[in-house]
């Protein structure tokens, strides 16, 4: 537990105020596709490792609803180009970014994902994919810069990256539906979870 906290803090530091953090933010692609996902990932991994069985969190996060909503709304906010601008312009918003992405997106995601209804999981996955396609398309056709801090050509590269990621992810998830066996898994997961929650 204590070791994972140490790693978590170190990882966050590297992603944020350090020189490495600045290197990420110089480029729109690195900012959106590396730094932000890594901040979320840090929170997610930490949450999976240390908080997923926390009684109190299970209690207040009934069926994962509160957590997943928090994750969607705060994650959604950071999807806006305007949010990126704000984070780059002032150090207050930068701080908000470094705190909110791991703590209010990554961790809630980790402790809620297995608890929400399987249909909700699928809807979120599909909505995530379609959102990537939409944003990618919009970035490609946008006549002007959406972020004051970045150039138009970077925005176009980012748009293409979104489309590539969305396509690959779709293929991967589709293959999964044909390759894995969901008979045991569904029941297994369910048993684990309900045992833990009720014991």
């Amino acid at each position: 537990m204590s070791r994972s906290i140490l790693f978590f803090v170190l990882f966050l530091y590297l992603l944020s105020y350090s020189i490495i953090g600045q290197w990420f933010e110089v480029s729109m692609v690195r900012h959106v596709l590396i730094q932000i996902p890594c901040l979320v990932l840090a929170g997610y991994l930490f949450g999976r490792k240390s908080l997923i069985n926390n009684r109190f969190l299970i209690l207040i996060n009934d069926k994962g609803l509160a957590g997943i909503l928090m994750c969607i709304f705060i994650g959604g906010y950071w999807m806006l180009p305007r949010a990126l601008d704000a984070a780059l312009a002032g150090s207050n918003m930068a701080l908000v970014k470094y705190i909110s992405l791991p703590f209010f997106v990554g961790i809630p995601l980790a402790i809620s994902w297995q608890r929400i209804h399987p249909i909700a999981r699928a809807v979120i996955k599909i909505e995530f994919l379609t959102m990537l396609f939409r944003l990618g398309w919009l970035y490609l056709v946008s006549p002007n810069r959406l972020c004051n801090f970045y150039q138009l050509n970077e925005q176009i590269i980012l748009g293409k990256c979104f489309l590539i990621i969305a396509t690959s992810l779709s293929l991967y998830w589709i293959l999964q539906l044909f390759a894995e066996d969901y008979r045991e898994q569904e029941t297994l997961k369910k048993n684990n979870l309900y045992d833990q929650a009720s014991s």
Binding site: P118, V123, F133, W137, V141, P143, L177, F178, Y182, R183
Partner: protein, 486 residues
């Protein structure tokens, strides 16, 4: 005669039964209303009505989207009914889909009849943004959002069927019967309802996702016109979604044929290897054939159009052939009991099969360049839909109405013949008009064309009368429908 046909559903809850009947009751009413809209377009072209182009295009938009939405709804009820005999499905999600559907319908009707939206159901870019005073941006947005909501409802429904199917059969490949097809598995293949539903959920989830992308982008463009979209890309996505959705309605409704005909002939319908193979092929082809809607778009890559042509030739075939042959072998010397249900189901096979021929003609690039924007096109798809798909759905309704000994009268037999004769005459007039190069989607016709329109109007009236009896019978017998749950 038909008194012994039993309607059994071993585990249909009272809530699910009620919801499904609500689906079908709404469908019956909307079918009728949309048919009246359809007939009124023909009356207008016959110069009998004088509603003017503005109303004509509103009604054309409402008829197109209304029919496509409602056959999707009714067909999903057929699928749900039979699939839930094999896998566990969620009634709350069935209800949720209906709620999304109804909210979407309100938005769409408001867009059309209050806002004046009349850009045809296909909402092709950039038309929705170009109302030019006939309709405003908000009306177009209301239409697009309505469609989006309906998509969300169906998405939930198909995700739930996916969950139910995978929980029982493991994954989508197994539910399509691939172990039996490719690996000589000796286990019993999944029932036809499961195979068909799996195909449908795959293609429809893909179609709805594509629709959800293009609808939102169209909305962005409405309010921020500087975001210009590539019209051809938009058209590709819309037709991918549209073609898949309407075809999937047929592939859901045909489950009624697989499940009900065997009861009439006392012979089982077991999925064979050929059956499984054809459903797998159709899964791929339904998703790759949509370029036949773009054969006139010369900017399309040539390979895509050629693919569209070739797959159009093959696409209808596999499932249609196994189904038609399967149905014939079931019927042949079986002493089938003839009543409205079995007649409608046999008609549906004929209609589906006949629709393929003019479709293939139109799917040929060189012909398409001449025929595409003529009434030939509504001609071929009305054969599929009016004489193939709707008879499956009405047949399913009669199956429920005649459940466990309930009888219907001679009026229903007469109505069947009205529907059959009217329908055949009506689509034939579309095809003949197409042959004369009469354009589709024209509110006013040249005087040489009007005779065709008038004959078509008479036939359309016959169809409406037939359907009126069907719908009346279903609605007035709702409370007597008797589904045994043992």
């Amino acid at each position: 005669m038909s008194s012994s046909i039993s309607v059994i559903h071993p585990n249909l809850s009272a809530g699910a039964r009620k919801t499904l009947l609500t689906y079908l009751a709404i469908s019956a009413v909307v079918f009728l209303l949309m048919m009246v809209f359809g007939a009124s377009m023909r009356y207008e072209q016959s110069e009998w009505l004088g509603m003017g182009p503005q109303y004509f295009y509103q009604i054309m938009t409402a008829h197109g989207i209304g029919m496509i939405g409602i056959v999707g709804l009714a067909a999903s009820a057929v699928m749900w009914f039979f699939l839930s005999r094999h896998v566990q499905l969620s009634t709350p999600i069935l209800v949720a889909n209906l709620v999304f559907f109804l909210i979407g319908v309100v938005l769409i009707l408001g867009a059309i009849f209050i806002g004046g939206f009349a850009a045809a159901w296909t909402f092709l870019y950039p038309l929705p943004a170009m109302g030019k005073g006939v309709w405003g941006n908000h009306a177009a947005a209301s239409y697009l959002v309505g469609l989006l909501l309906i998509g969300v409802g169906f998405l939930l429904l198909y995700l739930d069927t996916a969950r139910g199917i995978m929980k029982k059969y493991g994954n989508l490949g197994k539910a399509l019967g691939w172990p039996q097809l490719f690996f000589n598995s000796q286990d019993e293949a999944p029932p036809s309802a499961v195979i068909a539903s799996t195909m449908v959920l795959i293609v429809n989830i893909a179609g709805i996702a594509a629709g959800a992308v293009v609808l939102v982008l169209s909305l962005v463009n409405l309010y921020m016109p500087s975001y210009e979209l590539d019209p051809l890309l938009v058209k590709n996505l819309i037709y991918f979604f549209g073609h898949v959705f309407i075809n999937a309605a047929i592939y859901q409704a045909v489950i009624a044929v697989y499940e009900i005909l065997p009861l009439y002939t006392n012979r089982p319908w077991k999925p064979t290897k050929v059956f499984i193979l054809s459903w797998t092929l159709s899964t791929l082809m339904v998703m790759s054939v949509y370029p036949h809607h773009l054969l006139m778009d010369f900017a399309m890559p040539k390979w895509a159009l050629i693919m569209g042509q070739i797959i159009s030739y093959m696409s209808g075939f596999p499932v249609l052939v196994v189904t038609a042959i399967g149905a014939l072998t079931l019927i042949y010397r079986s002493g089938i009991k003839w009543d409205v249900t079995s007649r409608l189901l046999i008609l549906s096979m004929l209609g589906w099969a006949c629709g393929v021929i003019p479709a293939i003609v139109d799917g040929t690039i060189s012909v398409n360049n001449v025929m595409h924007n003529t009434l030939w096109v509504p001609g071929h798809f009305h054969i599929y839909l009016l004489l193939g798909l709707l008879p499956m759905l009405f047949g399913f309704m009669y199956y429920l109405v005649q459940s466990n000994g309930n009888k219907v009268g001679a009026v229903d037999d007469v109505a069947f013949w009205f529907y059959l004769v009217g329908g055949m005459g009506f689509v034939t007039m579309f095809l003949l008009s197409g042959k004369e190069s009469i354009p589709r989607r024209w509110a006013a016709h040249l005087s040489e064309w009007v005779p065709y329109d008038r004959i078509a109007s008479v036939f359309a009236t016959l169809v409406v009368i037939g359907a009126l009896v069907f719908a009346y019978r279903f609605l007035t017998r709702l409370s007597r429908i008797n589904i045994a749950t043992s």
